[in-house]
Symmetry: C2
Subunit: 531 residues, 2 copies
């Protein structure tokens, strides 16, 4: 395993890139949020207490017969690294010092056929299987309800890292599901192409995970969501193989690709993806713009995405987030910003970028925005830094987490107000008044997503504190017409909200699909839907 691309076991990314909080933020935490309590910071991975493994050497031997000895692990470090995702709840659990559930075995198949072989063994032995891509879930998507099973196997897909085919005529590439974002971009970049999918998790998350969780990247306005880029899927399910996507679009019945996209490993294991690729852009330019207020900024974003020209990147921070400087994580605390900061970015041929940028500039200026020097470059530099900031804030004793939702444009103001109020009221009532920051993270002609960051002092039981805030906020999202997730997914944390969002009959459909593809229910039990 390449250390460079291995997530820190206890937080985000590369420990060498950890963020130091400036004094102004420490001061804000103390005086603004009442953070006074020192909270446990992660010790050493060897100090983690893991639940005793339940699978024996015979099981490990059977798996090794399929994937090879070198690709089965059961050591403490591997178990710890595959036990949790990277939600704040996960990070708090890693810091809590209590015993953690963890997989018994970590198995790394090297091909679709090996995936199928492992699934067959697990079905026969009733072993719960968690497909493991980059390990970056923020919704509890990697921790199954495994008690009813003989054991828990993490199926690490990292070795599915091939470029199977690059069809330059059709501009589609067939790639292994275990490729991380930068690996896929490097392979395709060498041939002159890009996927254009750059979520905040880009540096660690995998292609299969992008698909299984319906990821959306920071440049989605230009390149589309990941689910819009997927043309074909190869899936290994306990009941057999699915090869979906003979054409970019078809009227041959319901689109089963859209049933696997968002299935979060509960229906099958995505082993290969056929994805739209584009020529690498010759030019990239990111601009910052300041609006007087959030409503004016939202109206301008809506105008751009409905009437064009549509930038490649288009985001808008509310007043609170702008004041905090969170749109520029590396400059956090140093901003004296007023109003609402927007980022508009353009990627493509030089001439096209120039023309589109000029046309969008005119719309933005007409809509009341003024240009902010350097803000675009600062955003670009810090675009993957947010999770590092969270680690530093947790170290400092704050509770900090993000959540997101999406609705139609007409519902955005009401949803924004309701979520902000739910977070503020719940956490204030708990004695830990928060700061609540928000940005429009993705835009569509018909609607937009809202991405919230919340920070407050940790209560005595920060896990219970956040669960309660999340529960109230989820209810507010549903009550105000939002979807429970725009791009984080469902995992364990949003199961009950998904049930309310789809209704009982919708969930029954998901259960029927799962029962068909995974008759013994071994795949990600408790993820997406309850058994």
């Amino acid at each position: 395993m390449d250390a460079r691309t291995e997530l820190s076991w206890s937080g985000w990314g590369d420990p060498a890139q950890a963020t130091e909080l400036p004094a102004s933020i420490h001061e804000l935490l103390r005086t603004g949020l009442g953070v006074t309590r020192a909270t446990p910071t992660p010790a050493a991975i060897s100090d983690l207490v893991l639940a005793a493994p339940r699978l024996d050497a015979e099981a490990a031997g059977q798996m090794a017969a399929v994937v090879g000895d070198a690709h089965v692990a059961a050591d403490h470090s591997a178990r710890a690294r595959h036990a949790l995702g990277r939600s704040t709840l996960d990070l708090l659990a890693l810091r809590a010092g209590r015993p953690l559930p963890a997989p018994d075995l970590i198995v790394s198949p090297g091909s679709h056929e090996e995936v199928a072989g492992v699934l067959a063994l697990c079905a026969a032995r009733r072993i719960a299987v968690v497909p493991f891509g980059g390990g970056t879930s923020v919704v509890g998507g990697l921790t199954p309800d495994a008690e009813a099973f003989a054991g828990w196997l993490a199926l690490d897909l990292r070795r599915l890292d091939a470029l199977h085919e690059l069809d330059e005529v059709s501009r589609v590439a067939t790639l292994g599901a275990g490729l991380r974002g930068p690996e896929a971009e490097a392979i395709l970049g060498a041939r002159g192409y890009t996927i254009g999918h750059f979520p905040q998790s880009f540096e660690y998350a995998s292609l299969g995970g992008f698909a299984a969780a319906r990821s959306s990247g920071q440049a989605s306005a230009g390149y589309g969501r990941f689910d819009e880029l997927v043309h074909g899927l190869r899936v290994a399910a306990p009941a057999g193989e699915l090869r979906l996507g003979r054409a970019p679009k078809s009227a041959a019945g319901p689109d089963l690709r859209q049933l696997m996209l968002g299935s979060e490993g509960a229906f099958g294991v995505i082993t290969e993806l056929t994805i739209r690729v584009r020529p690498r852009p010759a030019q990239r330019a990111y601009d910052g713009w300041r609006f007087p207020d959030f409503a004016t900024g939202c109206a301008a974003l809506r105008r751009l995405v409905q009437d064009g020209p549509v930038p490649t990147v288009l985001r808008l921070s509310d007043e609170a987030e702008t004041a905090m400087g969170l749109a520029r994580p590396d400059a956090i605390g140093s901003a004296e910003a007023s109003g609402c900061l927007a980022i508009a970015g353009y990627e493509g041929d030089a001439g096209a970028v120039t023309a589109r940028r000029a046309a969008a500039d005119a719309v933005l200026a007409d809509a009341g925005a003024v240009r902010v020097a350097d803000a675009g470059a600062e955003w670009e530099h810090g675009r993957y830094r947010g999770p590092y900031l969270r680690d530093a804030l947790l170290d400092a004793g704050a509770l900090v987490e993000t959540l997101e939702t999406v609705t139609f444009w007409s519902g955005v103001p009401g949803l924004y107000a309701a979520v902000t109020a739910a977070l503020r009221d719940t956490l204030t009532a708990a004695g830990t008044p928060p700061v609540v920051l928000c940005h429009v993270s993705h835009v569509y002609p018909a609607g937009a997503s809202l991405y919230f960051t919340v920070a407050c002092a940790q209560a005595a039981d920060p896990i219970a504190q956040w669960r309660e805030a999340k529960r109230v906020t989820g209810a507010a999202i549903l009550a105000h017409g939002g979807s429970i997730s725009h791009h984080h997914g469902v995992g364990r944390d949003h199961r009950s909200e998904l049930e309310r969002e789809l209704g009982g009959l919708g969930v029954a459909v998901l259960r029927a699909v799962k029962a068909t593809l995974d008759p013994t229910g071994i795949l990600n039990p408790g993820i997406l839907i309850t058994p």
Copy 2:
């Protein structure tokens, strides 16, 4: 029922608009295709022989208690008009003089709740239900396997014709599923909006049908396929109600909208749709261009759709279709055309149309096309005329039908050759050498659809003649990587190809979904999947 919008019982559209074939075409049929046999033309609707009805007055009375007496029909004319779609096989059946299966009752609910009420009655009485929109299926989608049921009820959705909501901020409209294309455009047009969905069936097909069968319009390059325009669906299924689509895009699990889109009435009845709308374009312009050959034209279309600018309408006829003048149905037979005719159309604000057209003109000219005066206007004038032409050709004794497929760009040449050869070889071997015409009807960055028109002399049993040609062609489509349908759907006619396309496990998923939503299997039995 408004006669203006009622399909001819025996062919296409408005009998007053029937096409007269020019002498040159009659000559071509005689000398080119060997059409000599006079074939039966439709007599009077009263002469049709329909199977004896099986549902009694009690059933009719129960339905009337739900929808009102005025909205239940069992008369000969209503039964005949709801018995078949508008495939050539359907039209031949109407001309054959043999007894036809037909629905026992035609029930027209006026609301979602009435649809649910009718479904509950039908489930209790085991009556097969065929959701009936515009009646324009060309894949046998309106003729169920009803033998195992107590009867056959056509659920005519025409009265679901309300504009429930126009959300001008989000640019989405919620509309009743029974609205025909022109009705919906008139309602929205009065408010300044358009859906932009203009398939050849536009004048008669319904919104619910567009969604259930994944329709694609002639302006799909600009407006998108219909399935891409659908943001929300309300569905009445025997097992309950589904309300899908709280946001334009979401990561809240699999996208169940995409399971209802393409479900062809077999999973539930779409009663309301929330659809993307756009401001009505101020300007429309359609240009004709001639390429020296099909490959050069395909390369140019691909360049436009991959690198832009993308016209609103983009189509390309092959040499045979261009020579026949079929791109301009009103001018058929009069063309002295060589090469391959393309149509590029632009809709939008005047300034935007001018700029986009000029930029596309430059690409087309650079790619080897020369402008053809008047061809764009002729295409626009004749864009909905194709089905009238088919009626006239059937009257003249020809067998004529269309079929379509889609694949990735790299597969287009092979698929084109294979389908052309399958049609030509099969029909020639049957003693009726055909003309096979083709155009690229819809384009995507990753691929394109191919739309074939075939004409030959009718054999003694033209239904068997076409079934065999279709069977061989379907196999060729699948063998060469195509999908069995780009926009016609599955119906009865493509069931076995769908099974091969999705594989056994994919079909098992569809069956599981159907069993959940329609436990007694009353909805469209035999459509989409076999029971």
